[in-house]
């Protein structure tokens, strides 16, 4: 497999952070100073192929790194960006969540012009989208955590507490 991102995860060049599922690295060819890639450690091409838990973690880490950009680089803004698929400008075959530090008048072109879309087209899009949202908010189940067995001490204490309350209530 030929993947520059996987390669960089392996050789650790520019790696700023990593844990079990995620790596954050300085972009080798940044669009702005401090441009960071947050990527799943496991090779995944498209956003939708990333497990729910991991995409959630990626956003949380991206937010922390965004804070670090404000604090350590003294920038005035940050963008979080996913270019998902070729028409969206995705360059690597490894899905990337970009954190891009922004400075006033930095000349970056990360904005868009609104399109004139008629009411009918809007409604069509609305209907089509709504037909497909039944599973949104239903997340992949994580492995169950081992159930914490209560120490006998704790139970005793609770019982005592209940007894105590019971006594209070009984005249």
């Amino acid at each position: 497999m030929n993947c520059e991102i996987c390669e960089q995860i392996k050789n650790k060049k520019g790696v700023l952070y990593q844990d079990k599922n995620i790596t954050a690295m300085l972009a080798p060819k940044p669009t702005a100073a401090g441009h960071v890639y947050i990527v799943p450690k496991k090779h995944v091409t498209i956003l939708e192929q990333i497990p729910d838990k991991i995409i959630g973690e990626m956003f949380a880490k991206a937010n922390k790194i965004s804070m670090a950009c404000f604090e350590s680089l003294g920038v005035q803004g940050t963008n979080l960006l996913i270019q998902n698929g070729l028409p969206a400008g995705q360059h690597h075959n490894h899905c990337i969540l970009h954190v891009i530090p922004r400075r006033e008048n930095d000349g970056l072109n990360l904005a868009w012009q609104p399109k004139q879309i008629n009411e009918e087209e809007m409604s069509t899009a609305e209907i089509k989208i709504k037909e497909n949202t039944s599973q949104v908010g239903v997340f992949e189940k994580e492995k169950q955590k081992p159930i914490k067995i209560k120490e006998p001490e704790e139970i005793k204490d609770k019982e005592k507490e209940e007894d105590y309350r019971l006594k209070e209530r009984i005249p």
Binding site: L16, K29, A88
Partner: protein, 243 residues
């Protein structure tokens, strides 16, 4: 949000159009809602189906949000992107968040854009790579490392080696399993052909046809599997990127 009294917050929420949209006091084309966020169609869309995901609580920027809400926003981004791909038969989506005016933020309320993308749609949003000198790279690396340590703790490279090895082994085992299966099918077909005792040339042609059919069938099955599982043709989207 530090230094803001509850009264001030109430006032901000009353004046914030996105708080009003989130609470339903201002009408919108709502696509999705849960306890943390609402997703609506953007009234100034970059493309038809352009979605805004808005938090129900008023945050000006993402760094003010607690982790659980940020994680939720990430999961919703994935799912709504998938919905758009399927519903509008797209080849891609752009997920975009701006923190601060310098980043292009226009509203006073946190939001995430999910923009449907098609080839040649002229949306813009270009991440132009720039060359950076080694010294600048190192300087930025040092500065950012400090900030990240402060915000995320020093956990670079602490992952357990043993875990990685097991994962690798598992995937290798899977591959070899698939290979054996394929070989078994092939062997079975050769036996069948021998039994038929056809003329050699025809056998070859037949075999070629069979092989072609087999690969076609396999691909179809693969596609179907993916469609069942993922909805949109993620495989195709991934394929054009050379996955």
């Amino acid at each position: 949000m530090e230094g803001i009294t509850p009264e001030q917050l109430a006032q901000i929420q009353q004046q914030c159009i996105f708080c009003q949209i989130a609470s339903g006091k201002v009408a919108s084309k709502k696509i999705y809602e849960d306890e943390k966020v609402v997703a609506v169609l953007d009234i100034n869309p970059a493309n038809p189906g352009h979605l805004l995901v808005i938090t129900k609580k008023h945050y000006f920027v993402m760094p003010q949000m607690p982790d659980d809400e940020v994680e939720h926003v990430g999961k919703i981004a994935k799912q709504l992107s998938q919905v758009l791909l399927k519903a509008l038969k797209l080849e891609g989506t752009t997920v975009f968040i701006a923190n601060g005016v310098a980043a292009g933020q226009k509203a006073q309320h946190f939001m995430m854009h999910i923009i449907p993308r098609k080839e040649g749609d002229e949306v813009g949003i270009q991440v132009q790579p720039k060359q950076i000198s080694e010294t600048d790279y190192d300087k930025i690396y040092q500065a950012l490392s400090q900030g990240i340590k402060k915000n995320l703790g020093d956990i670079t490279g602490l992952e357990k080696k043993s875990e990685e090895k097991t994962e690798e082994k598992e995937s290798k085992e899977k591959i070899s399993e698939e290979e054996t299966e394929e070989k078994e099918i092939e062997d079975a077909e050769i036996v069948k052909e021998d039994a038929e005792e056809s003329k050699p040339k025809i056998v070859i042609d037949e075999r070629k046809k069979k092989e072609k059919k087999k690969t076609e069938k396999k691909e179809k099955e693969k596609k179907k599997k993916n469609k069942d599982k993922e909805g949109a043709s993620l495989d195709d989207i991934a394929k054009v990127l050379g996955a």
